[in-house]
């Protein structure tokens, strides 16, 4: 069992991890999710006593790691796949680690077999691919047959077969009653592997619940409704009818409508009542990935802005705006640029349609946020 209480790590003014409290229980795979730079690796290093927390504590089985008797036999960790001296062979690398905790050399060959590196065991690790490096790191974590295992991004660089292997290995380790703590930035991967999810963003706890709870709490159902493309007016009519009945209607780029808050039969009734024919009425579920993206949206440190190619291209009409007037051939309408319009040419008159500034919200957010972070952090904390 890993327990963090009020864990905080500051680098200068920036808090990499802020007031993080959670528990990782034995017998389950606990996923540790967050965007890049959310503080996952920092947290893992603090668990292992490599970094000293600025405030708060983290314990494994009730003791700080550095006071755990014979720690390598209790806790195994994969922190960085390529953290190996390139000139040393895989076997010698593991042997040096095994000798530190009095593990017999026999065990080294065992774990090499477990991770499937027995054939390259005596090769220099310099030539290893990222996937082989991950396997070597996993082997190092398994050396002491520990009850608590930490893996930082173990599937990075693995091929599909390797990913499946890691997934099954995690589940198997948890089924043996061990504590398994796996970080990742891939929700889809965690949804398949983990039993429990701890989500952090900008170093703060965003969510701490089982995968089942997470799914039911975060996956919003919606219906996709499509009216005949030939009669755009019908769509407007249906849209207002659905909104009038309390549904949320969002137009999709391909001309369909995404309806939330109304059951399918009612949508059908409303359409019938409004005398609108339907080409499609289908139930959908937002994926966990979407739920995760929504949750961490405000907490992403590195976000790309749309490449506006300012001045390089003729500007299309700004934004999607109201449902684009999709002509007879829908596939084409999505990406074909509209016919040149007098006002839309950036080379004619500087005022133009002012398309490039469409991006500022995204661009302005990251720099502004860090100083404000500690102040508004109290809120999520209270809510919990």
């Amino acid at each position: 069992m890993i327990e963090a209480v009020g864990l905080t790590k500051r680098y200068g003014a920036k808090a990499a991890v802020y007031n993080l409290s959670f528990q990782v229980r034995p017998g389950a795979v606990t996923g540790f999710l967050g965007p890049n730079g959310a503080g996952k690796s920092t947290t893992m290093r603090m668990i292992l006593g490599l970094d000293t927390p600025t405030a708060g504590t983290v314990t494994i089985g009730g003791r700080p790691y550095r006071q755990t008797p014979n720690a390598p036999r209790q806790v195994g960790a994969l922190l960085d796949a390529k953290a190996v001296h390139g000139g040393r062979s895989a076997r010698n690398h593991l042997l040096s680690l095994a000798q530190l905790s009095g593990i017999p050399a026999r065990r080294v060959d065992e774990v090499l077999g477990v991770v499937g590196l027995q054939d390259v065991a005596r090769k220099r690790s310099k030539g290893f691919s990222l996937g082989m490096g991950q396997r070597l790191g996993i082997a190092a974590a398994l050396l002491g047959d520990p009850q608590v295992l930490l893996f930082d991004e173990p599937v990075n660089g693995l091929d599909p077969e390797g990913i499946l292997w890691v997934r099954n290995l995690m589940k198997q380790l948890a089924a043996e009653g061990r504590t398994v703590f796996v970080s990742s930035h891939l929700m889809s991967e965690m949804a398949l592997t983990a039993d429990h999810l701890i989500v952090i963003g900008r170093g703060q706890l965003l969510s701490d619940m089982s995968v089942k709870e997470f799914i039911s709490a975060n996956s919003a159902d919606f219906a996709r409704v499509r009216t005949p493309d030939t009669e755009p007016a019908l769509r407007e009519k249906l849209s207002s009818a659905l909104s009038g009945a309390g549904g949320q209607v969002v137009p999709e780029p391909d001309g369909a409508l995404r309806v939330m808050g109304l059951p399918l039969p009612q949508i059908s009734e409303l359409a019938h009542g409004a005398d609108v024919r339907l080409w499609e009425l289908s139930p959908h579920q937002a994926s966990l990935e979407e739920a995760y993206m929504r949750m961490t949206q405000g907490a992403v440190d590195y976000r790309s802005t749309a490449d506006q190619k300012a001045g390089l291209m003729q500007q299309p009409q700004p934004g999607f705006g109201p449902p684009p007037q999709i002509p007879e051939v829908p596939q084409q309408g999505w990406y074909a640029p509209p016919a040149p319009q007098p006002g839309a040419n950036p080379y004619l008159g500087g005022q133009g349609p002012a398309a490039p500034p469409a991006a500022p919200p995204a661009a302005a957010a990251p720099p502004a946020a860090p100083p404000a972070a500690p102040a508004d952090l109290t809120k999520p904390e209270d809510a919990r």
Binding site: V84, R88, S89, L97
Partner: protein, 261 residues
């Protein structure tokens, strides 16, 4: 509370040190460069002995002459020392090591002990080989191992090389980077210290640099080759060097304990 067993750390560090090729080539070049350059200079002394000034001839120190290649050979020792520690940081293995040995003092002690022992053995071999080959090439100007103070100088030469390696390891522990450590130590030992030691005013300070003080022990004739006499004896000299080494180790240990890995 646990004390990671010291023998376990020693065993592991021995595995680490013997399984990388840089150990072999740095130590081999320390040996070869020292012996070869010393031999060449001894041969040169013999053939040009008659051209030396009378003072230089009177104070000629055959023992010291056979260690003249150490100025170059010690640089390979510096590289060895720096790499032993620096590659832990550059590869990131330091995290795995410190996760396995949470007692960082024990880890540092084990690493320095194994690498220094190895450097001392190679240093002794270098020193003896250098001495005997050099004497053989000096011809009638030679001395013998049984002569007064000569054995002390030869053993001191090996000690000096071991301490240079240990000093480099400690500096690399402080700086946590091979590049940075080499960038500072190489020019220091090869240029700064050597140049300052021959500038009249700076000499009085440069005498207390680790290499200048430590290399005193290899001298048998106190003011050899017309050089000025140092204000301390050979053992005091190695003591001064030892103080430098202890200070560097203390600094390294402090950095290792305090900083995040």
């Amino acid at each position: 509370m646990t004390v990671a067993s010291v023998p376990a750390v020693l065993r592991s560090e021995w595995t680490k040190i013997r399984t990388v090729s840089s150990t072999t080539w740095t130590l081999a070049s320390a040996f070869l460069v020292t012996v070869a350059v010393s031999a060449a200079l001894c041969a040169l002394f013999r053939s040009t002995f008659d051209h030396l000034s009378p003072v230089e001839r009177l104070t000629f120190d055959p023992t010291l002459a056979s260690f003249s290649g150490m100025v170059l050979g010690q640089l390979a020792m510096v590289v060895f020392g720096v790499l032993v520690v620096g590659t832990e940081y550059s590869s990131g293995m330091i995290r795995a090591s410190l996760a396995a040995v949470p007692q960082r003092g024990v880890f540092l002690f084990g690493k320095l002990a194994v690498a220094t022992a190895l450097a001392l053995i190679v240093g002794m071999a270098t020193s003896f080989a250098s001495f005997f080959l050099g004497q053989a090439l000096l011809g009638e100007h030679r001395t013998t191992i049984g002569a007064e103070n000569v054995l002390r100088a030869v053993i001191g030469g090996g000690l000096y090389m071991g301490l240079i390696a240990l000093f480099s390891m400690a500096v690399a522990t402080m700086l946590r980077s091979s590049m940075l450590s080499l960038g500072i130590l190489m020019p220091f030992f090869f240029l700064v210290s050597q140049i300052l030691a021959s500038v009249p005013k700076a000499k009085t300070v440069a005498r207390y640099f680790p290499d200048q003080a430590g290399s005193r022990i290899m001298q048998v004739v106190p003011d050899a080759l017309g050089g000025s006499r140092a204000p301390y004896g050979p053992w005091t000299g190695i003591g001064i060097m030892l103080l430098w080494v202890v200070a560097a180790i203390a600094g390294g240990a402090l950095v290792l304990k305090r900083r995040d890995a």
